[in-house]
């Protein structure tokens, strides 16, 4: 059977939708000064921003895995009162303007903050405006992606595998490590990549909570923003790097792991 011809109106609107996303990319490619691209990207500021971005995004992903996987397991396997409210709370950063997240982080971990003051006075730890703060800001906005993906993965694992493991003598911790985690490996991977990509692009919460200190908290997005004022061609080159990295990841993962179910 031949597929029916799709209605022209729908196709036209869909094409406009594609153009809306494609045009900015084409604009970047058009404005890119290819001859000076290498030297633009090889400046110490750009390289240091790139290095910092990689460190911060991977650190945020690691922190997200450490805290997010257990959280996802609890959401998927442990029914408790108020679970929906708690889950909504930990999903909030996905919809919150990142700059609001940054303000909230400052209020909590800042020098006069809820915990920050205690950390500062008691332990001499000052988080704001450090690389650690950039990592926290990135984790704050990116971890929900990981938690949601992994939770969905754990929910789709046949619970009876875990029961079979129990009858073989495995305790909960062994089951989690040797049965549940391997079975959710695809979701784990997808969640980690989504989390990393979001952390790589983080701007608002970082600049609010961590500031814009070159080499310390100035990640790629911040460097792009700053370069727009002074050297737009560097901003364009950095933007393109960010864009291509993200696009490459999404294409590589497209069907295998990022299926919308």
């Amino acid at each position: 059977m031949r597929a029916a011809r799709p209605p022209a109106a729908i196709v036209a609107l869909a094409a406009i939708g594609v153009a809306f996303f494609a045009l900015p990319l084409i604009g970047l490619l058009y404005r890119m000064s290819w001859s000076s691209a290498l030297s633009d990207l090889a400046t110490p500021e750009a390289l240091s921003a790139l290095r910092l971005s990689l460190f911060v995004s991977f650190a945020a992903t690691a922190l997200g895995l450490l805290l997010g996987v257990p959280l996802a397991w609890v959401y998927a396997r442990v029914p408790f009162r108020g679970r929906d409210v708690v889950r909504a709370l930990t999903t909030l950063p996905m919809v919150l303007p990142p700059v609001v997240g940054g303000v909230a982080l400052l209020v909590a971990f800042g020098r006069r903050g809820l915990i920050g003051e205690w950390l500062d006075v008691g332990l001499g730890i000052r988080i704001p405006f450090s690389t650690g703060a950039a990592v926290l800001a990135a984790t704050f906005v990116s971890m929900p992606f990981l938690v949601l993906t992994v939770e969905a993965g754990i929910r789709s694992v046949d619970h009876r595998y875990e029961e079979a493991a129990r009858t073989l003598g495995a305790g909960q911790w062994r089951i989690f490590r040797q049965v549940t985690l391997p079975l959710v490996a695809p979701s784990l991977f997808a969640g980690a990549v989504l989390c990393w990509a979001r952390a790589l692009g983080e701007f608002g919460a970082t600049i609010t909570f961590a500031g814009n200190l070159p080499g310390v908290t100035q990640t790629l997005p911040l460097a792009v923003y700053l370069a727009m004022e002074t050297r737009p061609e560097v901003a364009v080159a950095l933007s393109l790097v960010l864009l291509l990295v993200s696009l490459g990841i999404l294409v590589a993962l497209r069907d295998r792991y990022l299926r919308v179910s």
């Binding site: 595998y161 029961e163 493991a165 129990r166 009858t167 073989l168 003598g169 495995a170 062994r174 391997p182």
Partner: protein, 348 residues
């Protein structure tokens, strides 16, 4: 020795089953879907808590609802073969079999033990394979090896043959019977297939609606069914009534004359082949003769089963030729006769 008294409610199921099994015994729990068979196994394994009763294995109390004692599944000496086998897809066949050994702190030499078990079930060559590379019958044997590798005292099998297609079932059933004989502990399997139950078990326990209807050797159960379910499985007519001086007053109406001397509340079994059908009232002596209306005609190979509503309602088995000669048709009237000597009677 297993002594279990399992009482619990789960959804619409109200389960109350007492079960005993001697060492070395193979018990088949047979019943229709929804009878509570799988829940019974899960309760024995500790995967479902019991509301009342107890589970005692080799004088060790695994669960006692009254005393609030409960040994979790991971600490019960019980192996389980699940209906869909549930081999871990991310582990090799060897690691699947060794999983229980490692989990129970016997990781040293676990690979060697696992390989010995794979040899015993004839799958040593598949040690490095993934479960997805196995056929249904092979997966079942790996699941069996995995359950037995930890030396359980009790082996539970949930519908061990249900996941297989008809063509491999016969050979897998034979292999399973052989593999089960190698294990010396108690074996309990649940199934809805009487052939599996009879082929594999020393003793049958028939459950329906969460209750034990009957228990005994396969011969006892099939010769003296005590439930409609078993009678249907065996293909006989089962009628309840009250016997007095050779006359059985049937619960569903009507009377049968029997040459059996048993008195009181009884079951009467009538083989469909013993029932004769006639288009006119038959003449003759000490026979049971009554009229009925045909409700269904069902051809099975070279025999035809004719269900007749009457007092009593039962199924007669005749030849296709007889169906033509008597011009039997659904909804038509027919006379039935049955010799008094052809009725097996035993106390209810």
């Amino acid at each position: 020795m297993l002594r279990a008294d399992i009482q619990l409610r789960l959804g619409t199921l109200d389960l109350a089953v007492a079960l005993e099994a001697a060492p070395g015994e193979v018990v088949a729990v047979l019943g229709p879907n929804g009878a509570g068979k799988t829940t019974l196994l899960r309760a024995l394994a500790g995967l479902v808590p019991i509301a009342r009763g107890s589970v005692v294995l080799d004088d060790v109390v695994l669960e006692d609802a009254a005393a609030r004692s409960y040994v979790p599944p991971e600490r019960r000496p019980i192996g389980v073969v699940f209906q869909s086998y549930l081999l871990f897809p991310h582990l090799s066949v060897r690691d699947n079999v060794a999983f229980g050994l490692r989990a129970r702190g016997r990781g040293r030499g676990a690979d060697a033990v696992a390989e010995r078990w794979l040899e015993r079930v004839g799958l040593a060559a598949y040690a490095d394979a993934r479960p997805s590379a196995l056929s249904g019958g092979q997966a079942q044997r790996v699941a069996l090896a995995r359950a037995l590798a930890t030396d359980p005292r009790l082996l539970l099998l949930d519908e061990p043959l249900a996941a297989l297609d008809a063509s491999t079932r016969v050979s897998v059933r034979r292999d399973l019977a052989r593999d089960l004989r190698q294990f010396e502990g108690i074996r309990i399997l649940v199934t809805h297939d009487p052939l599996d139950a009879i082929a594999l078990a020393d003793r049958l326990v028939i459950i329906e609606g969460g209750r034990v209807l009957q228990s005994g050797t396969p011969a006892e159960v099939t010769q003296r069914p005590r439930s409609r379910y078993v009678a249907d499985l065996v293909g006989v007519n089962l009628i309840r009534g009250h016997a007095l001086a050779g006359r059985i007053a049937l619960d569903g109406g009507g009377t049968l004359i029997s040459s059996d001397a048993t008195e009181g509340d009884v079951f009467a079994v009538v083989y469909p082949r013993s029932v004769s059908l006639h288009s006119r009232q038959p003449e003759g002596t000490p026979r049971n003769v009554w009229r009925g209306r045909i409700s269904a005609i069902d051809q099975q190979g070279d025999r035809v089963r004719v269900a007749v509503d009457g007092e009593p309602t039962l199924v007669a088995e005749v030849t296709p030729a007889a169906v033509r000669e008597l011009t039997l048709a659904e909804g038509g009237e027919v006379w039935l006769s049955l010799k008094a000597t052809e009725i097996a009677v035993y106390p209810a």
